[in-house]
């Protein structure tokens, strides 16, 4: 889906969780996508659609009980099957990961500056420059007074600053790929925009590709060039963010946009999207969105649609493309 040699290439990724007795829960089911160097890609979709499972699989962070098949290549190198040790080294150097909850990613009894420096000592190119690089990374992550606050403990910082420290830690060794899983949803609305702008700076300034996981279409448009909409572990639609928001083709993407509240409609109930995402244990034949889809037809329930490039760079997995009603009836997404 991108030109030239991709930085990240995920092919037919499948993630299953097995618990004793229970049927396997298939969180990701045959997902393929790729990312170019320095690119921003947003993984979108409702809660339970498999965004986190995908991100953790790419970063090698899934628990041992998870069964992962398919292929994940970074710069041409296959990551599935690498040892824990090799994966850990890769995570400190080539892949950075930022979690939703900054507090859970930081060591509460170590100053944040030291934690960033430690990442350099463990995986950086110049361990002797650890402190120096850490300070640079903190500054680059928009940490005000980085030198003075180098010794601050996580609990002494606001949530926004803690997340900036986590981002500094994730990018201090200049990874090629930064994965951020809902990096702003635990933060006060007032600091969210600043964090998104920081990701944009890291992308343009250091060519760090960003895989951003979010359920918020507006945020995705702000920080990523392309979006990949997931539904129940499968790809539904992938296109430039502008095209996704203005000319969505998949009924699920349309439903996500139509569910955004619109000004001028008065007091009352919110529609949301009727029905709910099937759980990872339910394996339906055919299109997984069919039970909620206003355009579902017989074929949809029998065979799963595959991703197809219906416009240049615009991929959709839906049997009824061309038959679904024109997207003009959709509200405009205000950024």
């Amino acid at each position: 889906m991108t030109e030239g040699e991709p930085l990240l290439e995920v092919r037919n990724l499948r993630v299953e969780f097995r618990a004793d007795g229970a049927p396997p829960a298939r969180a990701v089911d045959g997902l393929s996508f790729s990312m170019a160097e320095g690119e921003g890609l947003a993984l979108l979709g409702e809660s339970g659609s498999g965004k986190t499972a995908t991100a953790l699989a790419v970063a090698g962070l899934l628990p041992a009980a998870a069964r992962i098949t398919g292929s994940v290549r970074l710069g041409g190198r296959e990551l599935l099957g690498l040892s824990d040790r090799e994966m850990r080294r890769l995570r400190g150097s080539k892949i950075g990961f930022v979690f939703q909850e900054p507090s859970s990613a930081l060591n509460p009894v170590l100053p944040v500056g030291e934690q960033v420096a430690e990442a350099v000592r463990l995986h950086g190119r110049h361990p002797k420059l650890a402190r120096h690089n850490a300070l640079d990374a903190l500054r680059g992550a928009g940490f005000p007074d980085a030198a003075a606050r180098f010794g601050a403990y996580p609990h002494e910082l606001s949530g926004g600053l803690r997340q900036r420290a986590c981002i500094a830690m994730a990018v201090v060794n200049r990874p090629q790929l930064l994965i951020a899983d809902e990096p702003t949803s635990a933060l006060d609305v007032s600091v969210q925009a600043g964090i998104l702008d920081l990701f944009a700076e890291l992308r343009t300034g250091f060519e760090i590709a960003l895989l951003l996981i979010t359920h918020d279409l507006r945020m995705a448009a702000r920080a990523a060039g392309r979006g990949l909409v997931l539904y129940a572990g499968r790809a539904a639609e992938c296109a430039r963010m502008g095209a996704l928001l203005e000319r969505p083709l998949h009924p699920y993407t349309k439903a996500l946009i139509a569910a955004l509240p619109q000004l001028g409609t008065g007091r009352g109930r919110l529609g949301g999207i009727p029905g709910s995402v099937p759980s990872a244990g339910e394996i339906l034949p055919g299109c997984r969105f069919a039970p909620r889809c206003p355009a579902a037809a017989e074929v949809c329930r029998q065979e799963a649609p595959q991703m197809a490039e219906v416009l240049p760079g615009h991929w959709v997995a839906c049997w009824q493309i061309g038959k679904v009603e024109a997207p003009s009836g959709l509200p405009e997404v205000r950024l």
Binding site: G48, L263, E332
Partner: protein, 315 residues
């Protein structure tokens, strides 16, 4: 209005003492003379850009931020300056729901414990053998099954955690809830479910809400009245349909314009500096201001029944 409002706020002022990183200097007045009233069963929404002081007002009402001056009457009792014991008694009747459901739940407590711990800690009547049953009823009311009782926060999705936080707030039997960006961390479906649930509970229990939000389209769905805040003050307040349909204050118009696709964003630091201006705090951004606006600080004036505006030119 025949009966007295449940909550009557007059000239509420909240100051943060510089400490921690904001070392030295004057206290910062994050809420400056804020007044409003909320009736039982009604929702007042507080809107405005980040840093305008919305959360500060909400926190002050439930005792999480210090009241420096002014009066907060809750069902006739004064909250400003009361002692801890009296505050705790009243606190049972007021609850709060924050944006981040994860941060507000103890990771080592099951959903069941989270729900019954609060009333027990507050010294409400306790029947240990009935705790599970009562917690189960509340969790069911917010749409969670009985298996939720024994599960920990990390086992739930964001929307489910927000339901647990809501069940916990309801356990105290509150009459009033502060809802501070309650759906900002949730996807569209979960946000709709939580907001609809809050609406049902409001009708069922005549709950009064202070809804803090930055998304006007979402606020419109839930608010009876809207107060618009700028730099620590309310600049316009009235019926939701009037504020959104026929706004008068230039700042309200700017916000509405931004919600319709225009651009309105200000750095929080700039917003803080605006508070030092002798005249209208909005003057530096106001397309309609003149030199007079820079000299005299406008007052919030009721320009028609139930509609107040802080701008002499458009009031």
């Amino acid at each position: 209005m025949a009966t007295a409002p449940l909550l009557l706020v007059r000239d509420l002022t909240v100051e943060y003492r510089p400490g921690g990183f904001l070392a030295g200097g004057e206290p910062f007045r994050a809420a400056d003379g804020v007044s409003f009233a909320i009736d039982r069963g009604r929702t007042l929404a507080l809107v405005g850009e980040s840093g305008s002081g919305k959360s500060t007002v909400g926190r002050a009402l439930v005792g999480l931020a210090p009241i420096a001056a002014g009066s907060v009457l809750f069902d006739g009792s004064e909250l400003a300056g009361i002692d801890q014991a009296a505050r705790r008694r009243l606190a049972r009747r007021m609850g709060v729901l924050f944006q981040d459901p994860y941060g507000s739940l103890n990771p080592r407590m099951t959903a069941g414990e989270a729900v019954w711990e609060a009333p027990v800690a507050a010294g409400l009547p306790d029947w240990p053998e009935r705790r599970r049953e009562l917690a189960g009823e509340l969790l069911a009311r917010v749409g969670l099954g009985p298996d939720a009782l024994a599960r920990y926060p990390h086992e739930f999705s964001g929307g489910q955690r927000q339901r647990i936080a809501l069940a916990r707030a309801l356990a105290m039997g509150p009459e009033f809830l502060v809802l501070d960006e309650p759906t900002s961390a949730l996807d569209v479906s979960m946000a709709a479910q939580i907001l609809n649930l809050l609406g049902d509970l409001q009708r069922e229990r005549a709950l009064a809400y202070l809804l803090i939000g930055h998304d006007l389209a979402l606020v419109e769905k839930a608010a009876d009245r809207i107060a618009v805040m700028y730099a620590g003050q309310i600049v316009e307040e009235g019926e939701a349909a009037v504020i959104l349909g026929r706004p008068r204050h230039p700042y309200t118009r700017l916000l509405l314009d931004a919600a319709k696709g225009g651009r309105a964003r200000i750095a929080p630091a700039e917003l803080r500096r605006a508070q030092e201006l002798p005249g209208c705090r909005f003057a530096p951004r106001c397309p309609a201001g003149d030199s007079g606006c820079l000299e005299r600080a406008p007052q919030l004036v009721e320009t028609s029944p139930g509609h107040a505006v802080r701008c002499p030119r458009f009031g």
